[in-house]
């Protein structure tokens, strides 16, 4: 099976605190990998190190076999890696459609062609399709800032898929989302994974969401990998139960 992402011995320290302490794992093509762990175990820091938002103290990140450690986030995105954030990160002053066009425009043409070319960079059709796919069609021209929290979460996720990424890292996509929208989100992610073979890494606290969506789960504790396996294996692991699930 082809490895899309390979994280090797990644460390990140903030002064004396080791937020990520020698984490290694791989992500295979078409896989949905879940990363769980208690608050403060280093999940988001791990994401930020992989995605170039933080500089790792040690270790390497390889994408399709190429070293991408410390690559700038924009460069990494253009190489096919997309993400969502733990906190909402839409552009409130732009409309839903404009948010989606923005999410794809930098992958179209050159700087000059983006200046002289069409206002929508030829992405209106694709944005409309994506809006409908994420069931936001009726909000197409609304400002993103006017959407409900759950709708903004869906938009946030839709933006991550707009440029057709190879790998998507989702940081707590279910956080603060009501049950109906959570179902919608899970259904959409499954559909993209099944139909397009997209690869996901998902950080999430919602155990039902992770266990029902992911094919493999990694458990982090105190910056280290505590356990790894299928959802059933992780559920049954005594160390995991003690560190996380049992509480």
């Amino acid at each position: 099976m082809t490895q899309v992402l390979e994280v090797t011995n990644l460390h990140k320290a903030f002064g004396g605190i080791k937020a990520v302490n020698g984490v290694s794992f791989t992500v295979n093509e078409g896989e949905i990998l879940g990363i769980i762990g208690p608050n403060g175990c280093g999940k988001s820091t791990l994401f930020n190190c992989i995605l170039g938002q933080l500089e790792p103290t040690e270790g390497s990140v390889r994408l399709d076999g190429r070293d991408v450690t410390n690559l700038r986030p924009s460069e990494l995105n253009r190489r096919g890696v997309s993400r969502t954030f733990q906190l909402l990160q839409v552009f409130p002053e732009l409309s839903v459609r404009e948010n989606l066009i923005l999410a794809g425009q930098e992958h179209e043409g050159s700087m000059l062609s983006r200046f002289f070319g069409a206002r929508d960079a030829g992405l209106s059709g694709k944005a409309d399709q994506m809006i409908s796919f994420f069931k936001l069609g009726h909000l197409i021209d609304e400002k993103a800032g006017g959407l409900s929290y759950g709708q903004q979460k869906l938009l946030d996720a839709a933006m991550a898929f707009m440029a057709g990424p190879r790998l998507v890292l989702l940081d707590e996509p279910a956080g603060g989302v009501n049950l109906t929208m959570l179902g919608d989100l899970k259904e959409r992610l499954r559909a993209i994974n099944a139909e397009q073979g997209a690869t996901f890494v998902v950080i999430e606290h919602n155990m039902d969401f992770v266990m029902s969506l992911c094919s493999r789960v990694i458990v982090l504790a105190e910056g280290k990998v505590l356990a790894e396996g299928t959802p059933a294996e992780v559920r049954a692991n005594p160390a995991v139960i003690e560190a996380y699930l049992g509480h």
Partner: protein, 337 residues
Amino acid sequence: MTAPATHESLPQRSRLSLPAFIDGSLLTLVAGAVILWFAPVGMGRYGTYVLSLWLVMSVAVMGLNLTLGYAGLKSLAQAAFMGLGAYATAILTTKYGVSWYAAFALSGLLTFAVGLVLGFPALRVKAHYLAFVTLAFSTLIWLIMRNEQWLTGGVFGIANINRPEFFGIKLFGALEFHRFVVVVTFILAVLLWWMIRSPWGRAFTALRENPIRAASLGVDTRTYTLLAFAIGSAYAGFAGALYAPLVEFIDPSPFSLSQSFFLLLMVVAGGSGYLLGPFIGALLGVVLPEWLRFAGSLYLIIFATIVMLLLIACPQGVSGLLERGWAKVSGKAGARS
């Protein structure tokens, strides 16, 4: 990966009879240019000069509006860039006999290049820290303008700056030069309008609203930050290149730090991040004090009070106030229909 096919119906987009790229802002710019072409008739030299000055300041404010209003980068060096443009034009035309058109282009290039360099600190520092970097730059440029007498004439400035000709038509008169300023301002405003409505404008807005998210979507925040600074500075340079022949004499005083604050006030009062905001802001900054001259020595107090009340009532400036008013009116109309 492409978006999976869907059978859900989408709302139909409205169809206009005008070409799709024409919008209200462009029509307003065209209408404004036509009105301003004829506006000075019967106004006299001074009134015409004030109108031209308003447009020249609008160009400088347009640049700062791009840097601050759209890209969210706080700069206190706009007057310094205007000074660079004005001095470059004055020196090139009076000492080296360069045509105004070449000097105008060179002033824009010079301020673009200097703005690009000044943009680098913006990659590392944000908000008021960035403002202080630009403040230091502003002070440095002003000191050069004042102290390097061999180049700038020092406090005595540079006099006898000629106005250009346009295909053999002399623009020495106030009305002729005003119309020339109208044309140049219109071209620069349309260029900015095009940029703001292009994907660049969307990227600038993303830079202002959430640079981290923008970068995660592939927006090269480094390039766009530098461009916002450089293009905004070039507009100040163009304004300076128009200012020098308008006044026909320049010295360092109009390009001091306090003038940079005044330009900042014009951006905020006109409506930061609105295309037409700079014209309204410059109107408040240039023309309103003239209208208040009847109040004698009290005019500055009245002016300051008006600005304070305006910003308390509407932090988004006059453009924001107008937008709110329009939304209210159109909302009511919708309710009636």
